[in-house]
Symmetry: C2
Subunit: 502 residues, 2 copies
């Protein structure tokens, strides 16, 4: 055998979307194998100059990768910032403190603040593989983080992202843990608060597993993809905004963690608290109103669980210097009439316009929340908030503020139409409606095309307690194409328990 | 918009080795996205005729995948058994009982036998993603399986693989949980037992994380890749074999689980027990001798842990109908002089040939183990095994049996030479050797090229308690190439605590 330098390879970009994982591709006949004995899924370190990056290995036997090349997936390539064709070297990465900490957590140990800092730092630097990230999520999933560990995780996550600075004073935020279709209170609450002079630089998410996020629905009205500078100008002018949070890198660690939690469909209480509060803290909020809906098909199923979750939120918020007010609300059925961006936008406008036909549950819930948040203000006495919120809404000042925010963010030129393909879901029996399945209604709206097709969604025609007769329509499902309509209709006819009556 | 059938796609094989995960590739512009809203890492179901397969989604924007095509990785393609170019459909897979069970385990629930059957069945059918598999491994990792759950997992794993049948009577097996470099007792123990007439159809692994597995070392002498038929002929003729277990599909679930455990470097006690005992049961063994080495750098660090592990092994073995004898042995340093296939083979031959210079620790450990296993035999009284083993070894009957097994399996034509590139590791101080790091010595041997280069490895020149002077060589490291030699030398000079004296 002759001497060799097996680690020298030519960099190639491989256009594969690996969902935020660094993946390195080597040809099966590459010379590094006999020398370094790499296996598929092994972690390897790619070095160039003083830069290094760590990725998981996929082994390829294809003509689109040369024997002397090392491929990196799109995500890794963009973050490497090195041109294709560059000579790079490959080797084993050192053992990370973070992976040791994850192993300790898996075996039941308590982690320290510096452990969480190491883990979150390595998550953000893409030094953990999907498998290691999953192990971290699972190690924390068994309610295995004590309160102080959640505080440390929250602080670690806050430390690695963008931080917004609103120049002092009270900055109000509002959040709902989610799970209730149509529960689109934010576009009503924020204008009410701003009309009273509170500063509410609200960032919202797009749908992760639901048929619409607040950002998806706001996009029916206006541009939501604001740069930080543009967002600041909007807030300076109107006291509030309703922007998409994804355009700002508030919690990069959270984005990576979610990429594993989503396919796994697990919700760890500690990680949920850290995720929400770190984003609020990074967004520069000082006061947070948090909505926890409870119901048999909500994320939180019992009052005791909601009360325990509230205590945890209050503990962590206090220790990271965030004033929090938790509202436990009724989450036993969808809120409002519409589920899906266009339908929800319609509900929001009818509430803001004080329309007689506005869904009363959406209006009431929004007023409850706005009332509690108004009481953050020194000039509002405890108990006076609800009346004040109602007055701001009734007077038209909330609508006026909402329109001003839309103008400032950039109003949409053309309105978006409701989907042209519709069918109705009819009730199987007669009597009073006793059960509405939030999860099934959300799934129906997603199959119908929401949120990607904004005109798709579900209109809820009747609510719990209402009297219905056999064969009466209880849901109307809109799609923008017959194929999606057929998909949703197939689901609706196979799922019998979406709405039940007795 | 016009009606469409977005799920119809043309199958393409993508030559990527994903380490036993089903991965499905779609082009970013593929028509299924707006309709089904797939995201990267989502699980999708591919259907053709009555066949279905589930995989994780990677999204690709490259010219090697068409917009109307669906790519599947090599692993999935081979198991699909459908030709390239076939029209297949894509959709969402149903929710699996197994993933629900994994989520329940993560939240602390006890799983039933049917849960484990579902999980193991889905693992073997490749219906779990890497992320879900990791979640299962982690959910079980916190010593979270009670004894009866381990029994159920073992039975589930036994149920899905090949089972060997040796036609009744006692079938003896021997296993070590590993972690001690050079601890190659099997090729000494098996011939001793076979020489006394015991049936020992031994299958061994190749190295997973170590510098050599028994199969790697045996390959220095002879062919180890035996078909089941060939293995049966060898055992019929000689009463024993020393074959590679990987050629026989004894525990397919275990192979998949290991693909996650290896990069994660975690060892779950319950899974280790289930993995070992399910393989022994599938191999048709009735009696198992199990070696658990204990030491500060061994897998098991304290006697109490070893004792608890022994009790668990005994409980599970009893409940799956396997007779077990556990030996807790000294694992505070490497055993024998050689670490790596050729060096270990040399040690084995010197013991079997009763050479004066044979490493006494390897001979003694092998005799202890063989003695205990001989006592499985009805004609050997308790306490007589060791003396009988020593006699079989001293008489040359063990060597004779070993040579006969080599002949039956197919003796290697050309001997394999020790690597030509060597350097020595010298001791830093003077005194008696007080510590030898098993892990560091194994890593050194691996960097030197073992087990892929069979002539690479580490020769241990001095052992614990021996008197050494500063600058005296304590290890000699062999490689087959200067590059690997340099890699190992770099590690040896940076790691100061490999061997210490006082």
């Amino acid at each position: 055998m002759t001497p060799r330098e097996p680690q020298h390879l030519v960099l190639r970009r491989i256009p594969i979307d690996t969902s935020r994982e660094n993946v390195v591709f080597l040809h099966a006949d590459c010379a590094v194998f006999p020398a370094l004995g790499f296996r598929a899924l092994a972690k390897v370190q790619l070095s160039y100059d003083h830069h290094t990056a760590v990725g998981s290995l996929d082994i390829v036997r294809a003509d689109w990768l040369g024997v002397g090349e090392v491929g990196v997936c799109e995500y890794m390539f963009e973050r490497l910032g090195v041109a294709e064709g560059t000579n790079v070297t490959l080797g084993y990465p050192g053992i990370l403190n973070s992976t040791n900490a994850i192993r300790r957590k898996l075996s039941g140990a308590r982690l320290s603040r510096s452990d969480f800092n190491e883990i979150v730092g390595d998550i953000v630097a893409d030094r953990l593989s999907k498998v290691e990230l999953t192990a971290f999520v699972c190690a924390c999933a068994q309610n295995n983080l004590d309160r102080d560990e959640v505080v440390d995780l929250t602080l670690a996550m806050t430390g690695v992202g963008q931080t917004l600075d609103w120049g002092g004073g009270m900055v109000v935020d509002k959040h709902c843990i989610g799970g209730i279709p149509g529960n689109r209170t934010t576009p009503v609450v924020v204008p009410i608060l701003a009309a009273h002079g509170l500063k509410v630089p609200k960032t919202s998410s797009r749908a992760i597993t639901s048929p619409a996020g607040t950002a998806d629905t706001m996009e029916v009205f206006c541009n939501v993809e604001l740069s930080i500078e543009r967002m600041k100008r909007v807030v300076e002018k109107e006291g509030a905004c309703l922007a998409w949070g994804g355009a700002i890198d508030l919690s990069p660690a959270d984005d990576v963690i979610i990429s594993v939690e989503r396919p796994l469909n697990i919700d760890s209480q500690g990680q949920m608290i850290a995720s929400i509060l770190s984003k609020k803290k990074s967004a520069g909020s000082t006061h947070l109103l948090l909505d926890i809906p409870v119901g048999p098909t909500a994320k939180v199923r019992h009052m005791e669980l909601a009360a325990s979750l509230r205590r945890e939120f209050e503990y962590v918020a206090k220790h990271i210097g965030l004033h929090i007010e938790v509202v436990i609300s009724n989450g036993e059925q969808p809120i409002g009439r519409g589920v899906g961006p266009v339908l929800e936008a319609r509900d929001i406008m009818s509430v803001l316009e004080n329309n007689d036909r506005a869904p009363s549950d959406l209006r009431e819930h929004a007023l409850q929340l706005a009332g509690r948040a108004l009481e953050f203000s020194a000039d509002v006495k405890g108990g006076d908030g609800y009346g004040l919120a109602r007055e701001i809404l009734r007077s038209g000042r909330a609508l006026q503020k909402f329109e001003a925010i839309i103008e400032a963010q950039g109003r949409r030129d053309q309105p978006i139409e409701l989907g042209a393909y519709a069918f109705e879901v009819k009730i199987g029996g007669s009597g009073r409606i006793t059960r509405m399945d939030n999860f099934a209604i959300a799934r129906l709206a997603k199959l119908a095309g929401a949120p990607l097709c904004k005109g798709a969604g579900v209109e809820v025609l009747h609510k719990l307690g209402e009297e219905v007769k056999e064969g009466q329509p209880v849901l109307r499902v809109y799609s923008t194409s017959p194929a999606e309509s057929a998909l949703a209709e197939g689901y609706a006819s196979s799922e019998k328990g979406i709405i039940e009556c007795l």
